[in-house]
């Protein structure tokens, strides 16, 4: 049975190693400061006891006033999981560091989050839109994205990149 690690305990461990990194810790998750994110992630991956070598998922959540980026981490041995979060407080221009350097698996998922949610991942090697085309107005998964700006209705007049 995969054990979900206690966020409080892990938060404490991270705090000991990297001071001021943990913003909030609950039994379910740990929230770390974006500036310390890469450091924390590297620690979680390389620590022999934690051994989070597998990044299961990356996603972003729009909390209306800020964005939360959620990382689901998985260790194969010992078999446990951790939910790591970070917050981008600037709702208009959210930016968090990219974790591609730590886990390659973040590459496509961060691109997806950027495309649909508009969270910029600083340091991503190839941060482009993935499902929508360059020039698409807005980021549709944001809560304030209700219709396409400029009075456009959904659907295309012509195919993208056609010229």
């Amino acid at each position: 049975m995969s054990q979900l690690l206690d966020g409080l305990e892990i938060g404490e461990r991270i705090g000991k190693r990297i001071p001021e990194a943990v913003v909030e810790a609950t039994p379910q998750w740990v929230v770390v400061h974006p500036q310390k994110l890469v450091e924390v992630a590297t620690y979680l991956r390389d620590d022999s006891e934690l051994n989070f070598r597998f990044l299961s998922g990356v996603t972003a959540v729009d909390h209306l006033d800020h964005f939360e980026v959620v990382y689901h981490l998985q260790s194969f041995s010992p078999n446990h999981m951790l939910t790591l979060k970070t917050r981008a407080l600037d709702h208009d221009n959210p930016e968090v560091p990219s974790l591609v350097s730590v886990w390659r698996g973040a590459e496509l998922q961060e691109r997806e989050a950027y495309d649909l949610m508009g969270v910029r991942f600083a340091g991503h090697p190839d941060l482009r839109r993935v499902f929508l085309w360059e020039g698409f107005p807005g980021h549709p998964l944001r809560k304030d994205w209700l219709e396409m700006p400029g009075g456009l209705s959904p659907g295309l007049g012509r195919f993208p990149r056609e010229d």
Partner: protein
Amino acid sequence: MTMKSEPFVVNVGPQHPSTHGVFRLRLTMDGEKIVDAEMVVGYLHRSMEKLAEGRTYTQNIPFTDRLDYLSAMSNNLAYCMAVEKLAGIDVPERGQFLRVIMAEFQRIANHAMAIASFAMECGVWFTPLMWMFREREKILDLFEMTCGARLTTNYVRIGGVSFDIPPEFMPAARALLKEMPERIAEYEALLMENEIILARSRDVGVLQPDLAIASSASGPVLRGSGVMWDIRKADPYAAYDRLEFDIPVGTCGDCYDRFLVRMEELRQSVRILEQALDMLPDGPASVNVPLALRPPAGEAYARIEAPKGELGFYLVSDGSPHPHRFHIRSPSYINLTPLRDMVVGLTVPDAVITLGSIDIVLGEVDR
């Protein structure tokens, strides 16, 4: 002295027989060799995550059918598990077993399709495809007699399953399981020791285990690289903790290993199904759940070992009947992360079978 030719770009897809839908691979070639590969997706993007935010939890189940349309049961299951985790609903034992039965039948159907299309990529002229469709057809018949639909089943519901199995299900399922080992042996005789398949797929599209883990590959792609990881064992859901099965793993991480892993998973699925049908308890198949379910505010991440890999649903609830955030961790999409590393240095035919061995469905890649 080396001969250099002008690099040129080959667009494989979006309209191409071997891209399993509208997938586009921009290959930069130096002569026959691929020097760069870039995938372009999004042609089938339906913005499912946004749509789901406007509907109730129950209304979202049919959306999940349309994700990986070759394994709708698994998608239903993963989503319902996430909602149940969020709302704290327990599913009765019979429902759990029915879920396992359907998910494993779905795995056989999906792997039959995956192996067949991989063989098609290797150039077999439809024979394995037709043979495997024969069994897949029977599985779809089982689905039809249970829930009335063959492809988009919408069968697994929050709190259980939509219908209990009809009386004719059991004999049909047992008859199918009885002939399956023989059929699998037939497929193996046709494909596994085939010299051309060996020549084509061995040492092609190699994925090292380190890269596989680092790039979040899952399912047969991860296991083909020799990583012993299966969520059915690691984090047992439904009734898998009571069932006996093994995890097949490859040794070299090439296309042939991924093919072997799928082949063996067919056998393991038959094994699981035989046990599950024997152990199927009596009792209710589901509990009643209000249609406009209002889970308490919070979040839940539930994952299953779908045929294509780790399928996870991350739901955030704000206490309303609609999910605040509905995220799909889709194995097809994330398994494409190491694609570039796998195909660079190969030729176009090898790239095509590498893509075939990853087994993607565009409904799930683009969502």
